[in-house]
Symmetry: none
DNA sequence: TCATAATGTCACAATACTTTCATATTATCG
DNA sequence: CGATAATATGAAAGTATTGTGACATTATGA
């Protein structure tokens, strides 16, 4: 989250604009990957999934719309957020951009501020942990920026790992995550840590939530993993 | 989803525009709920979550931006898509709208076509990510991702095997499966488990379904096996 | 550097679940 | 209607999964 900055793939053929994008993106603390055509873009994507793709509408050979369509067709890349860059402003284009599966679009010339606002907005809804918003669930309140947690207004003392687990849970409620999924999401991809370790940290998290009665938000789903839910 | 049309909550104080929105929305086959201020909106939301919220920027007392912020902060409402309706077009407004967590915005006066295209786009990208792999049969609802089962809305408590059996049944209704076929499909191929074991789990499944009266969905076909069917 | 906190791992306890088995109940057919 | 086979049911034994406390190891900060 704050340890590894979100990676943004820029697909843009004009070097000047590509440079401008990269500068702004990195200015905001994101990692920028450059690609000047569809081939380069897919080459990168096949190796690692970016957290977001900035896609130029007009590209040599394969267009941005076509790239977006292909990304949406593949299960692996289906959920990667896409922001479309376009010079046209008329209504049909907007609609096409949205219909093609882009999460948002922005028209050239764009202001850096607007670009960044859109990037943050898209990241916030697609990768909730990435946005540093204060999140709430039931009686719990967690603020990533101040790194504080409170239950019913009373401050809680959590270790770093418990904090990250709770943050992940609050931003991904109602869904069961296996131990290995939690390891991937909270610890980082493919760590060499035993799965039972998750149990222990879940236990510590529950222990910290116990005084406020919020410990039942963290639910065991036998044979499947854990689920965070405000409702029993 | 296709059985019950998506519900769209309209938060708009001007009656004329509210009516216009409702007309268009219902024209598209959605269900429109009207609210003319923040109180009415939250009153509805506290009872049931809409599939999407159309939110006017300018509202009496509590603004649309403020409403969006509150919705995004709470885990329960965090994932409800929001489209912001605004009369202003200048950049700062756009940014505020996005920062507040809106999924999209549209400026007044809007064309019905654009409005509908945006609604569809937002619904398309938001719904599939949340567990809409939920399967239904009669009064039953089962969601693999949240690992929850409910009958007539009331949550059910099932063991792992019963959960898998019910999942298999709901996705393979109206057909008789022998005990060994069930063992293959639910337990896994060629397990060394006695066939009578199936009976026991069927019994437990029925037992769990009994309070809701759904136990007769699981039917015995003497000499052949079991069949799942909503109709007696 | 030392003191302190955080982390991961293990062993064992506590549960929840599965399977089997013995027995009761029900259906089917002569 | 009775004999027989198939299914239902309850409970006990067996198995797997999860909870928990203690401890060694590794970061972190004064």
């Amino acid at each position: 989250m704050s340890a590894t900055p979100p990676t943004i793939l820029l697909v843009e053929d004009e070097p000047a604009i590509q440079e401008l994008l990269a500068f702004n993106v990195e200015q905001c603390g994101y990692r920028a990957i450059r690609a000047s055509d569809a081939n380069a873009a897919f080459a990168y994507i096949s190796r690692a999934l970016p957290d977001l793709i900035l896609l130029d509408w007009m590209l040599p050979s394969v267009s941005g719309v076509e790239i977006a369509r292909r990304l949406r067709a593949d299960a692996r890349t289906r959920n990667v957020p896409i922001i479309m860059l376009t010079a046209r402003t008329d209504e049909r284009d907007k609609i096409l951009g949205l219909e093609s599966g882009a999460d948002d679009y922005i028209t050239k010339p764009f202001s850096p501020r607007e670009l960044m606002a859109r990037i943050r907005a898209v990241l916030r809804r697609r990768v909730p942990q990435m946005a540093d918003d204060t999140v709430r669930a039931g009686a719990l309140e967690l603020s990533p920026t101040t790194h504080r947690v409170s239950a019913k207004g009373a401050p809680l003392d959590l270790g770093p790992t418990e904090f990250r687990i709770l943050h992940f849970f609050i931003t991904h409620p109602e869904r069961v995550y296996s131990r290995s999924q939690l390891l991937d999401h909270v610890w980082g991809n493919h760590v060499f840590v035993g799965e039972r370790t998750v149990d222990v940290h879940i236990r510590r998290l529950r222990h910290a939530l116990e005084p406020s009665g919020c410990d039942n938000y963290v639910q065991t789903v036998r044979g499947a993993g854990y689920r965070f839910s405000v409702t029993a």
